[in-house]
């Protein structure tokens, strides 16, 4: 991440000049990244670590749609449903066709509904899975299912696993950051590190005055803070005498340096004034907007650009009218899709323009799909449907313009090539150079992994 390097080095030098860095740490902080990547530093759990095998992706941007996006209205056309709309299927079910037209996009000609014309425009960069299966059909279980591999118990989230496995390049920012204006189902469990060290927990960014908790200097002036940190440095130095062997003490001293770095670096991340109007236009972001999904996407790109290993963008929260859980009115989708369609496409285009799409894995997923049947003719909404739904991947070694797996002609069950949440997770880890069966953590007497005892890398999605 060359973008920030000069700044970081400058800052480290100025810290050193101000006596804020212990001798010895300085050379380590200024060492080339390659050297860092080859060592495992117990006192610095976020130091970059080598992957199991060469990685296609250096980082992930994980887009999560809360509530469960209907597959049959977005990425999986079902003419049969339209044809038989409102006809009785059996005692309890009537076919429910989509309210939206599908049309082919790109060279691949993959069909996408009119809800997502912008995403359609980048379909040739996308590998679409039409045979996803979640392990649970409830919001809570499905949400933690796709994030942690378990629908019931607390487990570390995928971003935490990645942070634990690979560390991060930019020590001024956490390895795993989550932009989540509201809380998804299961709340903080979605980015929790559970039994993994808490340093791997997702740092939540809440759009607003202080996106990262305590990121703003609270002292009256920068000078005052510096004087104060000098004082702290003095206390810590005095204390260190005779205790030099304790790496925890040095690690904690260092944490203030990185915090100082984060305090300096973070505002810049959220300051979009250096983005061109063309870029804003790409995302559909209006000037001054600091809360929309477009804002999340652009800030997501900026975080990725600055070396954050795993960026998650969460759309919607648990209130029904703000997420994709349209039991009553599928027509809500017009607005919901509008909120995310252009930003997501803009993100992919922007990454591509900057040459970042080659090593950035973009993931789009949700809790589950929605039922192809209604219990009454003319019904407005759809129920939960975890047996089959859609997700997609783009960038970093992914074969764009492909479709993998299919649902049956009703969109009810997987017809072929089911992809479980564990398969999906295994594939994401694989692109990061991680063998999902070897990324383990010993806890309570056994080795845990993200994919539990499951998971198959879906090689058919790879270029």
């Amino acid at each position: 991440m060359s973008v920030l390097h000069p700044n970081r080095r400058q800052m480290i030098r100025s810290l050193a000049a101000g006596g804020l860095i212990l001798p010895g740490l300085l050379s380590e902080m200024l060492a080339p990244e390659q050297a860092l990547a080859e060592s495992v530093d117990a006192a610095d759990p976020l130091a970059p670590r080598p992957s199991h095998f060469p990685a296609k992706a250096k980082r992930v941007i994980f887009l999560f749609m809360t509530g469960g996006v209907s597959h049959v209205d977005t990425f999986d056309p079902k003419p049969y449903l339209t044809e038989h709309h409102d006809e009785r299927r059996n005692k309890h079910a009537y076919y429910k066709g989509s309210d939206w037209e599908f049309r082919p996009y790109g060279e691949s000609g993959i069909e996408v509904s009119d809800l997502f014309p912008h995403i359609g425009s980048v379909i040739d960069d996308i590998a679409l899975v039409r045979s996803m299966k979640n392990i649970n059909g409830d919001h809570f279980g499905a949400t933690i299912g796709i994030h942690t591999g378990s629908a019931t118990f607390n487990r570390p989230s995928i971003g935490s696993w990645v942070s634990y496995g690979l560390g991060t390049y930019n020590q001024n920012l956490p390895a795993f950051m989550v932009i989540s204006p509201g809380l998804p189902y299961a709340g903080g469990q979605v980015w929790g590190s559970d039994f993994l060290p808490v340093v791997h927990q997702g740092t939540r960014i809440v759009p607003g005055a202080e996106p990262i908790a305590n990121m703003h200097r609270r002292t009256r002036s920068g000078e005052l803070q510096r004087t104060e940190l000098d004082m702290l440095e003095y206390f810590n130095r005095q204390h260190l005498v005779g205790r030099e062997a304790d790496t925890n003490l040095a690690a904690r001293i260092k944490s203030f340096e990185t915090a100082f770095g984060m305090q300096a670096a973070a505002p810049e991340v959220f300051d979009l004034s250096d983005e061109s109007s063309a870029t804003l236009e790409l995302y559909g972001l209006e000037e001054g907007d600091t809360s929309s999904f477009a804002w999340q996407c652009l800030v997501g790109r900026r975080l990725a650009e600055r070396g954050v290993r795993f960026v998650e963008l969460i759309d919607g929260d648990t209130s029904v009218d703000k997420n994709w859980d349209s039991h009553a009115h599928m027509s809500d989708y017009n607005q919901l899709a509008k909120n995310v369609d252009r930003p997501i496409a803009g993100l992919i285009k922007d990454l591509k323009q900057r040459g970042m799409l080659d090593d950035t894995l973009v993931v789009w997923t949700t809790e589950f799909g929605r039922g192809p049947f209604a219990s009454a003719p003319g019904a407005g909404g759809r129920g939960h449907h975890a047996q089959v739904y859609c997700s997609w991947l783009a960038g970093a070694g992914i074969q764009g313009g492909t479709v993998y797996g299919s649902s049956d002609e009703l969109g009810d069950l997987v017809a072929e090539n089911a992809v479980s949440v564990h398969d999906f997770q295994a594939t994401i880890l694989h692109q990061l150079g991680i063998d999902h069966e070897r990324l383990t953590y010993r806890h309570a007497g056994r080795d845990y992994r993200l994919t539990d005892v499951h998971g198959r890398v879906v090689r058919e999605l790879l270029a």
Binding site: T227, L232, Y234, N248, H327, S375, A376, G380, G383
Partner: protein, 830 residues
């Protein structure tokens, strides 16, 4: 792991040097390995694959009919040789060629007349793929094991019971006499290293490695350590002075006695227990329903530690308090509250009542780890892979809890509470509450009817043109109308506790699926621990019997696990590091004889935890300095042999409570019920889960703790989880913690208050600096430190343009205090 030391006869100098080098290298390797996030892929990957993916399948689906006991069609699938030899139809596998392997063809249903497993669902595609991969890669079989199935831990139960250290009866080891130690070590310094029997074991173990313990900590260091350890709070400067001024021989033991008698002791040590039993104030279901009565169990735990309730009795009360005799009604009620231990089991999903097996799993998982140091959860679906615990054992325990009634705190699909325990008894409560219930019932009915209408609209069974939001508004209206009837309920005394249900045995649930019934199992205890069963004609759940089996002094696990926990909390690390896993995968004790000595002492002293504290804290080993000794760390860098104290970071609670105390803000009264809304009036959903934050100045143990939404502060500093057993806290160092110290309102506010106090307490800069050092660092500053403070204050004063002298002074001192309370000297205990 280090092997147990010989008790006499040191190795010669030459071999000693070599062995210590080997040990040093070994330890170094251990360290390196432990920091690598994944195991290095040295060769055994395919065995690993077999263990993870193939063995379980063979055991679950094949070897029952094709194993040691039965050989259907003349085929065995419990060894590689047997697979190659095959049965009536020829070899079962062709290593390297899955397509040609009969095993694969039958599970794929590719053979016309033979499908396996018979009469069951076909194996999942993934399972088949794993078998195929295993065959394709040569059907690798673990070398040390010719056949499987015949020797799972459950099958080797007797052998393991006779060989695994933790299952052996607790011995009565005799500590080495000083004379023998002197002879062994060949110097005269031994006597100075021995305060009590603990030291004899530790020094002998060190001597065997050619090491000597480090020096004793200063009294000033010690007093700070002891206060934080026993009370979770630092000593005040006055308390330090009093201790330092007391030159009598027994000043230190008397200090310990004094602290053990203070109420803060229970708040500190009760918190340890609450960590282990994953205490929380909410249920953990998908909407995280509040449990307003949970605090009674929390306070029970705190009181039990303060009263030094014998540990065996503590066990009995928590598992079966409602079934124990009591001298009066207060005692009876207190014992009922104790069963809150079972009641606080984690709930899951939108209908936890319907997921009873998951709730009971939470109970058994915790019970196994907490009391026995065994992970029982694995045996829910299959015989334990590592420990000799069978599914039959699991369901023998399961039946006991299935025969008990768990309270229900509400959930999305069943918002109304039920099965709480009333102090006046169920019958009387029913009588008192009948009129209220009768008045509320029609409203409950209306509320549910309207809710169902709303749900149905969701399910599209009714007129879809009717707006959901309208129905929702009507629902809310009904709930408001219902409210006064709910709030009118008399406040009877209620506990979140357990009651007896219909006593019955349960069937094994195959693969953990409640619907797949296996054999019926008589309620009883783990086979490896004696396997007692409830007698014929027994009336009751069996909880009391279970409590007695666990609390039996002959049970080799119970006493060792608790003695080790107490050691763990004193030293930051147990003699057995895996404090809740004493099974085959746990770490063996570094000092097995010492552990037995402590355990024996614990039993002989009527299971008094405070007696154990006194024994441990009066040892010289506890009083060791925390500083490095180069000669020792070269051999034992992890301090496994205990030649120094482990420096420990303040816990989240110690940090918060200390800061409140420094500013004289700490409210020392015990916490009670949290200000949840009225218990009968809330309706949480996944869409609107309970999220609460009840600020308080009380000690942190009294903070409301949710299962789904964690307390941000506690979480930031590695606080308790509340969802799973949390036997060992980590002490992470993160950037976000540093930002918290630099910029959080909490820290800035505390610093302001503490600075105010410094200004009030003392006159003049040097006296104030002294007050701050003694309060926060628990030591006086030296001249240079005072000078540095003066320099800092002057520099800050120069930067503040405030004309108001008072305000400027406050700010200067607040800045100074911020530095102090952010520093390592405050945050670490030597």
């Amino acid at each position: 792991m280090l092997s147990p030391a010989p008790q006499s006869c040191l190795p010669t100098r030459a071999t000693h040097v070599r062995s210590s080098m080997v040990r040093a290298i070994g330890l170094l390797l251990l360290v390196l390995l432990s920091v690598l996030p994944w195991r290095s892929a040295v060769g055994d990957e395919r065995v690993e694959f077999f263990e993870r993916n193939v063995r379980p399948q063979l055991l679950a689906n094949c070897t029952h009919c094709h194993g040691a006991e039965q050989q259907e069609s003349g085929l065995r699938l419990d060894s590689r040789e047997a697979m190659l030899a095959g049965g009536d139809r020829g070899p079962a596998i062709v290593p390297g060629d899955p397509e040609a392997s009969l095993l694969l063809r039958v599970v794929r249903h590719a053979e016309e007349d033979l499908e396996m497993p018979p009469e069951e669902e076909p194996l999942a595609a993934e399972a088949i793929a794993q078998l195929a991969k295993w065959i394709a890669e040569g059907a690798i079989w673990p070398e040390h094991e010719a056949t499987i199935g015949a020797d799972t831990p459950v099958d080797r139960l007797e052998e393991l019971r006779d060989s695994h250290w933790a299952f052996q009866p607790v011995g009565s080891p005799i500590p080495l006499e000083v004379g023998a130690l002197v002879a062994d070590r060949g110097d005269e310094g031994c006597e100075d290293d021995i305060d009590n029997d603990i030291d004899r074991f530790v020094v002998a173990r060190l001597a065997a490695a050619g090491l000597k313990p480090g020096r004793r900590a200063s009294r000033r260091t010690l007093v700070r350590r002891v206060y934080f350890d026993l009370l979770g709070l630092p000593p005040t400067p006055e308390e330090i002075d009093a201790f330092l001024a007391d030159e009598s021989d027994d000043a230190y033991p008397r200090l310990i006695d004094r602290l053990l008698a203070r109420p803060e002791y229970g708040e500190r040590w009760g918190r340890h227990w609450l960590d282990v039993v994953r205490y929380a104030d909410t249920a953990g279901d998908a909407s995280d329903y509040p449990v307003p009565e949970a605090y009674k169990y929390r306070n029970y735990v705190i009181d039990a530690f303060n009263a030094d309730l014998p540990y065996d009795e503590f066990i009995r009360q928590q598992l079966a308090g409602d079934l124990l005799p009591a001298e009066n009604d207060d005692e009876r009620w207190n014992q009922v509250i104790a069963t809150g231990y079972i009641a606080i089991s984690r709930r899951i999903g939108v209908d936890p009542v319907g997921l009873r097996h998951v709730t009971i799993e939470s109970t058994l998982d915790n019970l196994g780890k907490t009391f026995l140091g065994l992970t029982l959860g694995c045996a829910r679906c299959h015989n334990h892979k590592f420990d000799p615990v069978s599914t039959a054992d699991y369901y023998a325990l399961y039946g006991i809890f299935d025969s008990s009634v768990y309270p229900h705190a509400g959930s999305e699909h069943a918002p109304y509470r039920r099965d709480f325990v009333y102090r006046v008894g169920k019958q009387q409560a029913d009588e008192i509450l009948r009129p209220y219930r009768e008045r509320l019932a029609p409203w409950d009915k209306k509320e549910r009817a309207k809710f169902n209408e709303y749900q149905a609209l969701q399910g599209m069974k009714t007129d879809p043109k009717r707006k959901r939001s309208d129905v929702w508004a009507e629902l809310e209206e009904i709930r408001e109308q219902r409210r006064p009837y709910a709030e009118a309920f008399p406040d009877l005394e209620i506990a979140y506790a357990i009651a007896e249900g219909r006593p019955h045995d349960v069937h094994v649930q195959k693969a953990g699926e409640p619907k797949k019934q296996g054999e019926l199992v008589r309620r009883g205890f783990l086979t490896v621990l004696g396997g007692a069963s409830l007698p014929e004609g027994h009336q009751g759940s069996g909880r009391l019997e279970l409590a007695n089996w666990i609390a039996d002094p002959e049970n080799p696990l119970t006493v060792r696990v608790m003695a080790n926990r107490v050691w763990h909390y004193h030293f930051g690390r147990g003699l057995v590091k895996s404090t809740s896993d004493f099974g085959m995968r746990g770490t063996p004790p570094t000092h097995p004889e010492l552990l037995d000595y402590l355990s024996r002492y614990f039993i002989d002293n009527d299971w008094s935890v405070k007696a154990l504290h006194r024994l441990i804290m009066n040892s010289r080993t506890y009083q060791l300095d925390s500083r490095d000794v180069a000669a020792n760390s070269a051999v034992d860098p992890n301090n496994d042999l205990i030649w120094r104290a482990n420096r420990q970071r303040l816990s989240a609670e110690q940090l918060r409570d200390s800061l409140l105390m420094f500013g004289d803000e700490l409210d020392r009264t015990p916490g009670g019920r949290h200000p949840f809304p009225h218990r009968l009036t809330y309706f949480y959903r996944q869409h609107e889960p309970f999220v609460g934050n009840f600020p308080t100045r009380r000690r942190s143990v009294y903070l409301m703790q949710q299962r789904i939404q964690k307390n941000v502060f506690l979480d930031l500093f590695d606080g308790p989880d509340g969802n799973v057993e949390f036997a060992e806290r980590k002490a992470s160092t993160t950037t976000l913690q540093a930002l918290f110290f630099m910029n959080s309102p909490f820290i800035h506010e505390r610093a302001r208050v503490i600075a105010r106090r410094a200004l009030d307490q003392a006159d003049g800069t040097s006296a104030r600096v002294r007050w701050a050092y003694e309060t926060v660092f628990n030591r006086p500053p030296d001249d240079a430190e005072v000078a540095r403070a003066e320099e800092f204050l002057a520099s800050v004063a120069g930067q503040l343009d405030d004309s108001d002298k008072g305000r400027r002074e406050s700010e200067m001192w607040a800045a100074y205090v911020r530095g102090m309370i952010s520093s390592n000297e405050f945050l670490f205990i030597d």
